[in-house]
């Protein structure tokens, strides 16, 4: 069995420029038909090796039952020396972000009991059947680096996957949060039941030009939903190769800085109880809040220690929770003389990481003029452009790694 001491000792014997060891002691509990309990320890090892040709880096995931720390470190060192790129020097470490990640009500006691408590938060509604799986992860993370810093923290993360069934239809609801009271399960289930009623009455799609309102479940399909388009644009490697759609300090789309309420997005890895919050990144770099887009202008990139050093900046721990500035749009007001479609749920969302072009397969929508629900249809959107110009609601929500407007209005689209 590997332990931290043996790994650190083995690292000391290699001629490495820098290294970081992250130990994650995890308790995982799953409650559904079966109650499942798992104990595991996971290690992440990052080593940097300097050679005359430059610096190489290796990231290795190690199981605790891996027999020999010396061999693991030796293998990581070989990997690092074989992946040499331009030389860079480690930036002196900054203080870890101060952030609370553990819900006291989930962090103590039997993990299965805590997971079962979350399962009981699911409301029971007449006429609706709900299948639930609750996954609770508790972890204690210890980080040790060559530059002699040592830090540790505890975290909890709960995930609920529910299948809500009523009549002939079902809707899957997924929620993730570090605190049980941030899961918002009652609202999630009730909205699903309301949409199930609409699905039962849904008609066929009528193609044509329209304005589109993306409501929360469609906006955040699969996690960050349409906002994921901006995450890949902040990849520094892609940006360095000139493959991003826009460049730092330039508008993200033509005229994006001149609209009435320009778009601003911030990555906040220090958001209290944020599902992607962490004091340190996977390479031991301090996580920081930084702007991705400020009033329509590209403002920042996700910087690993390597990318930060190459740019002579500070690392920021990468894109974490997304904070999107709210607008002033009242969700009840819609454009005149235009057909307006309110999209409730998506079947699928595919985003081209380089161009931001997206295919949205619609599951449930409502024609605002008639109030008639319909199922199906496809939208093809240039997400960067349409979200730069979209009207954002004044009402905000916090869900998983997202804090921002509950809905957006896209004034020109073509439903096919």
């Amino acid at each position: 069995m590997i332990d931290r001491r043996s790994l650190v000792r083995a690292l000391g014997r290699e001629e490495l420029a820098d290294w970081v060891v992250i130990e994650r002691e995890q308790e995982l509990a799953v409650v559904e038909e079966v109650h499942r309990s798992e104990l595991r320890t996971r290690w992440q090892l990052t080593v940097h090796a300097d050679t005359p040709a430059g610096r190489g880096t290796a990231h290795v995931m190690v199981d605790a039952d891996e027999g020999d720390a010396d061999k693991v470190v030796e293998q990581a060192a070989v990997l690092a020396r074989l992946s040499v790129g331009p030389a860079w020097a480690t930036i002196p470490p900054s203080a870890p972000a101060r952030v609370d990640l553990a819900d006291p009500t989930l962090a103590t006691g039997e993990p299965l009991a805590a997971a079962a408590t979350i399962a009981r938060l699911i409301p029971r509604r007449p006429g609706a059947a709900i299948d639930v799986r609750v996954t609770l992860l508790r972890e204690h993370v210890t980080v040790q680096a060559r530059q002699s810093f040592h830090t540790e923290w505890s975290a909890t993360l709960a995930r609920v996957d529910a299948l809500v069934t009523q009549g002939a239809h079902a809707i899957a609801v997924a929620r993730e949060a570090r605190r049980a009271d941030q899961l918002e399960l009652v609202a999630g289930v009730d909205e699903a039941i309301a949409d199930l009623r609409r699905l039962a009455a849904a008609g066929a799609v009528v193609p044509g030009p329209c304005a589109v309102i993306l409501t929360a479940d469609a906006l955040l399909h699969g996690g960050l939903g349409v906002w994921e388009a901006f995450v890949t644009q902040a990849d520094p490697v892609v940006a360095r190769q000139g493959l991003t759609r826009y460049h730092e300090r330039a508008p993200i789309a033509a005229g994006a800085d001149a609209v009435a309420e320009p778009l601003s997005i911030t990555s906040d890895g220090a958001l209290p109880f944020g599902v992607r919050s962490s004091p340190l990144g996977d390479e031991g770099d301090a996580v920081r809040k930084f702007p991705l887009i400020t009033r329509g202008i590209a403002a920042g990139l996700a910087l690993t220690p390597r990318e930060a050093a190459l740019r002579q900046r500070d690392p920021n721990g990468g894109v974490r929770n997304l904070i999107v500035d709210a607008g002033t749009w009242d969700e009840k007001s819609t454009p005149d003389k235009t057909r307006v479609i309110e999209i409730r749920r998506l079947r699928g969302l595919e985003i081209d990481p380089y161009t931001g072009d997206a295919d949205l397969e619609l599951a449930l929508s409502i024609d605002r003029a008639t109030g008639a629900p319909f199922a199906g249809g496809t939208l093809r959107l240039d997400l960067i452009d349409v979200l730069a110009r979209a009207k954002r609601s004044a009402r905000t929500i916090r869900r998983g790694p997202y804090v921002g407007p509950a809905a957006v209005l896209i004034e020109r689209a073509d439903l096919i």
């Binding site: 995982l28 109650h35 990231h59 039952d65 490697v237 493959l243």
Partner: protein
Amino acid sequence: MTITRRELLEGLGLASAYAFAFGCGPPPKPARRAPEEFSGEVRAWLRDAVAAIHGAGLTGHALAVSRTHTVAAQDVLGAGVNHERADGVVLVARDAHGRREQITSDLTREGVAAAARALAGKATPARIEFGPPAPPAAVPKPDPAQLADSALLDSVAAIAKRDGGLSSRIVYASGLLEVDDAMVWSIAEHRDLEQRLYRVRRRITRIAWNGTRPILSEVSRAWSGGIHDQTFGDDELAYARDTALALMTPGAFADGDHALVLAPDVVAGIIDAATRVLWTARAARRPEIAARFAPDKLIGSAAVTLVDDPTVPNAYGGYRFDDAGELATAVPLIDHGKLVGRIARGRRPGHTGVLEPMPSHMRFAPGSSESALALDAGYLLEGHRNVLVDPASDRVVVAVQRALEVQRGQRTGRAYADIELVGDLTTLLGSITDATRATRVIGLRDDRDGLPRWRSIEAPWLRARGLVRARRSQA
């Protein structure tokens, strides 16, 4: 537009820049006892655990795995080998109130005993009859324990050497040999089983630029057995090369309803997605699926017959017993268009993940057609990219890399990149009029929560009809 080799590798899933290295020499292989050497000890620990669970008045099942994953790869710049190893134990205890599972990665006497205590407390072990011990699992040839990294690399290099016709237009070429070696033990009352699952995948990739877009071509083979049991034929090497070099036809693709030939990799993608999303016991809990896919319902043409058969010898997704400890049997799913069964048997990602109904080795029955291109006018769709199957409706969106125009049974030379087939799944299955006699086997390895899932599909070329359209701008 440029793409770095690291991005390309990551994008293709050939290797992780974090976990894989190419270069002047492979890293040392960790020392490890061969699974058959400690099989007796493991079975004794698992029997003790099951006896302890029964002693607490519960019914027990113990599943353990010791597995390795080895990838040898060679590309335009070099070659390398990567090794991963994982052990795991799943103890299951059942009573009238339900089922509990205790999982540990500590495959030692102490680790198994601690997991058993978590389920059974300090109960006195019961006397259990386990039945006759399992016969030793057959060791593949060559014996994986005796295989040096250099032998794996030589095997990859030998294929590269045979492909002499590489053009300077090919900007990237790689070969890959991936080996999963899993020793699995399953112990319960009257049941003492073990199996060695040795899964091998070979893949070659060729990429050439076509205007501003890279054209990727891959061929792969997947089986269970020794690493030398299968290799690529010259025709497969030529196919990979020629497909990458083929020039795409400029201009817009004519969206519309067309007669189609679906290549086996596209068929496999559709069948895999549909099976996992629609035709499992878990999926049937959704009322939409239960209604649309009721037993004996006609969901395809008479040319559609599908069986999930883990007993097929040397199948990549095959096994002797599943992760619930049940012996493998063939399960017919669709018989001449009629839905006759569902996937209900339990498999665990990595053998230790959450039990879920999963297909093993799916066989789409071949037809009588000798020619894959028996089409008056239409398109051959090949190069599976992605399939969306919506459980709530019949909607299917099949993204493919290429649509090749066919007229009077011959390719016209017109080829269009980045195409999708959209429509209703039952309409698509109902439009299938014929299948070729020849089939291909596609092995799939993906992961769930970081744990691997293996399955395979044997599929012919299919004649069908559907709405085909360009996915985005053809620029």
